[in-house]
Symmetry: C2
Subunit: 293 residues, 2 copies
């Protein structure tokens, strides 16, 4: 158990606290600072990020901020009502050192006029269906990196396109941070953990694992030697037709690093999907990186 | 004179050198690092930036990089042929500690796909006439800040719109750097120093100071109580009509912080202009900030 209780840190505090911390180490033993950016409503998927950060870093910072500029739908934004006290307790049990929980007013004192944008990510997958989403993500992640100055930052593989866009931004802009990808955490029935899952009705929750089931069927096709993305998609989508309640937004076979669709599978690929179930949008993906081995 | 000769630093080196330097200070006596971003071809205007940095910082880094993505015209980019050895010697005489002179290949190993853009700066002044220019400036400045991690960065007031766009980027993205504005350095006849001045023919060079002359006539109008931007512009442009060789691109009275045109002058304003003289584009501006005092 930690001796020092975790308290949520607000804007002006966090930089001062981290500066104090940095100066308390000897010059050649600078602390490694890890950042886990979240939108709160923490679950075991976030815990996996925090545990990895705890194992690799001297100081772990969790940010909790529901970033208005990455939402394309107001109802989705408003559904992210977070219980900060509960989230802070959750962080404390995982040995987190600092929770940075700024207000929207602190993060955007004026309507934001500066954006960080990675070209080429708005044409496919979530980028295509959520206009402005990734621009909002990269902008707020750039801000968080500038505020916290982490050495490492932890992102879940569940949000595969987000991970790819952040990695690209970091490389292109020479940001002095290492991005660590953490595998997706799933329920026993395969459903990827998400804060949105709790918005599902019991009936929808029973259907939801079919999404991962479809991805696994597609992955099996590839593992068995199929190199046609069209055939892989067909097999996966056939599985989903048994569940008409799942309204598929996209299901694509994409190159694992660029996240752009491929037709012939010849290297590491990701099968990525988004589907609506009632009022809830779910995303998931599987990585198949041992092609031909 | 410096004991340690200044050598140009390339990409991988500079971060290591600065990390070594930071760790050589005691934890509570971290060095203040100042960055002077330049495109080389250094002159007394740059010297003013370096002198200010030298006076305020423990370590002064000058970057020399002709940034291809901020040029809207290929001929202008190609005219920036720099003599690195000469520029490094110039830096050495001013007590600069490091010259960071990356290649374009190092700065952009792949065609850049990530851009930092400040909205609202493309509608006026240089932003209007040089499409993509400020996006290129903010993107490369963000990269330089991430590579060098300066505490302070020095920009000339001559490039007033650039200064405003960088200040806005730093505020919006919470970049941990202080922007220091340094007054324009002028020739005895008023011409603002610029690397482009040497491309003027002797005849053009004799005419060029008329640009500053026009700005001063406009500024005098304001100092004498004129509050109509239209009248100020008319007075300044009348002066330029004596020199038809100067082809005015814009001459505007703008708000000194937002750099957007005003009609009625009631607070600090800037009169900003760009004009072509032969094949050379010159810019200049004057700040009038003591309105009504």
């Amino acid at each position: 158990m930690k001796e020092r209780p975790v308290r949520p840190q607000y804007f002006a505090d966090i930089r001062r606290q981290l500066a104090l911390l940095r100066s308390s180490f000897s010059p050649d033993g600078r602390p490694i600072i890890g950042l886990v950016p979240t939108m709160g409503d923490l679950h075991a998927g976030h815990a996996a990020l925090m545990e990895r950060a705890r194992a690799e870093c001297d100081t772990v910072v969790v940010s909790i901020f529901v970033n208005p500029i990455q939402f394309d739908r107001r109802d989705d934004y408003e559904a992210y009502a977070i219980d900060l006290e509960k989230d802070v307790d959750f962080c404390a049990t995982l040995g987190v050192d600092f929770v940075f929980a700024p207000s929207a007013q602190e993060m955007y004192p004026e309507p934001p006029s500066t954006f960080v944008e990675v070209a080429g990510f708005s044409a496919h997958l979530c980028g295509k269906f959520r206009p402005g989403h990734f621009r909002g993500v990269t902008t707020v992640v750039a801000k968080l990196f500038n505020i916290i100055a982490p050495d490492k930052a932890y992102f879940g593989e569940k949000d595969a396109q987000q991970l790819a866009v952040v990695e690209r931004m970091v490389a292109d802009l020479n940001m002095p941070v290492e991005i660590i990808a953490v595998p997706t955490v799933r329920e026993p029935d395969g459903l990827a953990l998400s804060s949105r899952n709790k918005r599902l009705t019991p009936q929808e929750r029973a259907i939801a694992p079919a999404l991962y089931g479809a991805l696994e069927i597609g992955a099996d096709c590839i593992r068995q030697g199929c190199t046609s993305a069209t055939q892989v998609r067909r097999a996966a989508l056939a599985h989903l037709r048994r569940h008409p309640e799942l309204r598929v937004e996209y299901l694509e076979v994409v190159d694992a690093s660029s996240m752009t669709p491929v037709e012939t599978i010849g290297g590491p690929v990701c099968i990525a999907t988004a589907a609506w179930l009632g009022a809830v949008r779910l995303i998931d993906n599987v990585l198949i990186d041992n092609i031909g081995t």
